[in-house]
């Protein structure tokens, strides 16, 4: 009997610990055609994964930098974050009080990645992010729904959406919120986005700048909203800390990852 209680207590502990997973939505994998496909094969398969339902907030990030001093703004290694990193914070430990429930921005890719790793998570890949973001409130893939596309584009036209409070928008099919109409988000492999026409060295052809450049071309030019996201990603460097760029974390959904420990 005592053993049973202990066992129950153990399970209770685990279910408590996995509260973090409750903050994440399970995204069932599948095939999708990314905007920028990979050569001849246009479909990419995305495995099952967990994605944070909400973008990481100032409150979350404040907790993180308090635990990890090396990511406080005066301590951060300049190699990993530019001078705008957390530049709107009052001091190393205090985020602006009015922004606590807003999405954290002005964080570099390195900082976002470290945050996720310290939660036992990781940044989502571009494919995972786009896969989850193509869901409307009712459909897994709403990209052919013109109203849905227009609503995303409208949201891109609004100013200062990074000042919105997280969690107020409708959940999408997977139960994820605020993927559109709030902030751009870091992805693990943002540096895999190579746009032809991007030229950081005027006068050079892309063939000279990129190996196998001809293999890369947009598959779905109708998806203008996605085009904007890819263009934005291709313009980023990993130390950039921008007012309009935040992140959320992801996690593999293999059986070994069913439980989360924090």
């Amino acid at each position: 009997m005592r053993k049973l209680i202990l066992l129950m207590a153990g399970f209770f502990l685990i279910s408590n610990a996995s509260a973090q997973t409750i903050q994440m939505a399970l995204i069932e994998g599948g095939n999708y055609t990314p905007l920028y496909g990979v050569g001849e094969q246009s479909e990419t398969s995305v495995g099952d994964f967990y994605l944070d339902k909400l973008p990481v907030t100032y409150a979350d990030f404040q907790e993180f930098v308090r635990k990890h001093p090396k990511w406080q703004k005066s301590n951060v290694t300049k190699l990993f974050a530019d001078s705008r990193y957390l530049s709107n914070w009052e001091n190393d430990l205090k985020a602006p009080a009015n922004l606590m429930d807003k999405p954290i921005t002005m964080v570099s890719w390195f900082a976002a990645k470290a945050y996720c790793e310290c939660q036992g998570k990781r940044l989502p890949t571009v494919d995972e992010w786009e896969y989850a973001a193509m869901a409307s409130t009712s459909k897994r893939d709403a990209r052919s729904d013109s109203l849905y596309n227009v609503s995303i584009l409208r949201s891109y036209e609004q100013p200062k959406t990074y000042m919105k409070t997280v969690g107020n928008s409708e959940s999408n099919y997977w139960g994820v919120q605020d993927m559109h109409g709030m902030v751009w988000e870091w992805t693990q492999d943002f540096n895999s986005i190579i746009l032809t026409g991007e030229s950081r060295n005027n006068g050079n052809t892309d063939a000279g700048l990129f190996c196998a450049a001809g293999a890369i071309g947009a598959k779905d030019m109708m998806n203008y909203a996605a085009f904007m996201r890819f263009a934005m990603r291709s313009s980023l460097k990993a130390n950039f800390s921008l007012t309009t760029l935040g992140f959320r974390c992801a996690k593999d959904a293999g059986p070994q990852n069913q439980l989360t420990f924090k």
Binding site: L79, D189, I193, G208, I216, K237, K262
Partner: protein, 196 residues
């Protein structure tokens, strides 16, 4: 089950904190330039099967490019550019410069493959260093250099062709983009960096 979870739990906490401590103690050891790539914690295998970190290269100017050995299009030209740069720089009696080829394909480019590639391209001298990292380490490093890459099939990658020059403290001083553009500029930059 419970103990197992606790063990896992402590492992998670530990792995995250441990990292912090190691890097902090390193920072105390010597004042490193805040923009130095010696701060990267990743480990790399060389073509000779040694395991190194970037800080092991401290004191040498580095000329770095990212390639993969199965590449048939741009990489042979990048490699040719590197050889030409090396020839011109060494003709100016600059000898302690390290030329580093970092593989963007750590799965396939084993130390043996890198060794063979070095041999095939007459890059067997001590000035040539080939590195195999982890996928994570490679992505971090590419992001430091703002190199973009994407695997487009099991063999090929698309990637930016950028040669980067780092000074003796590991701080990036110059980048050259594009192929077949070996002019005096990059040679002069390397010589200037080597003289400091």
């Amino acid at each position: 089950m419970r103990y197992f979870s606790l063990i896992l739990l402590s492992f998670f906490l530990f792995s995250c904190q441990e990292n912090t401590q190691i890097e902090q103690s390193e920072n105390m050891e010597d004042t490193m330039d805040d923009l130095s790539i010696y701060q990267l914690p990743s480990e790399w295998n060389t073509q000779d099967g040694q395991t190194i970190e970037f800080k092991d290269l401290k004191g040498k100017p580095l000329v770095v490019v990212m390639i993969y050995t199965a590449c048939r299009t741009a990489c042979p030209r990048l490699v040719a550019d590197m050889r030409m740069i090396e020839e011109r720089v060494s003709s100016k009696k600059m000898r302690d410069i390290q030329y580093v080829m970092v593989s963007i394909d750590p799965i396939n480019d084993t130390p043996e493959k890198l060794k063979q590639f070095a041999k095939d391209n007459q890059m067997e001298g001590p000035e040539w260093l080939f590195l195999q990292g982890t996928e994570d380490g490679v992505r971090d490093f590419a992001n430091i250099m703002a190199v973009k890459y994407k695997q487009i099939n099991p063999i090929d990658f698309s990637h930016s062709n950028i040669i980067s020059v780092f000074d003796r403290r590991g701080v990036m001083k110059y980048q050259k983009e594009g192929l077949g553009l070996v002019g005096e500029e990059i040679v002069n930059k390397i010589v200037a960096v080597a003289k400091n």
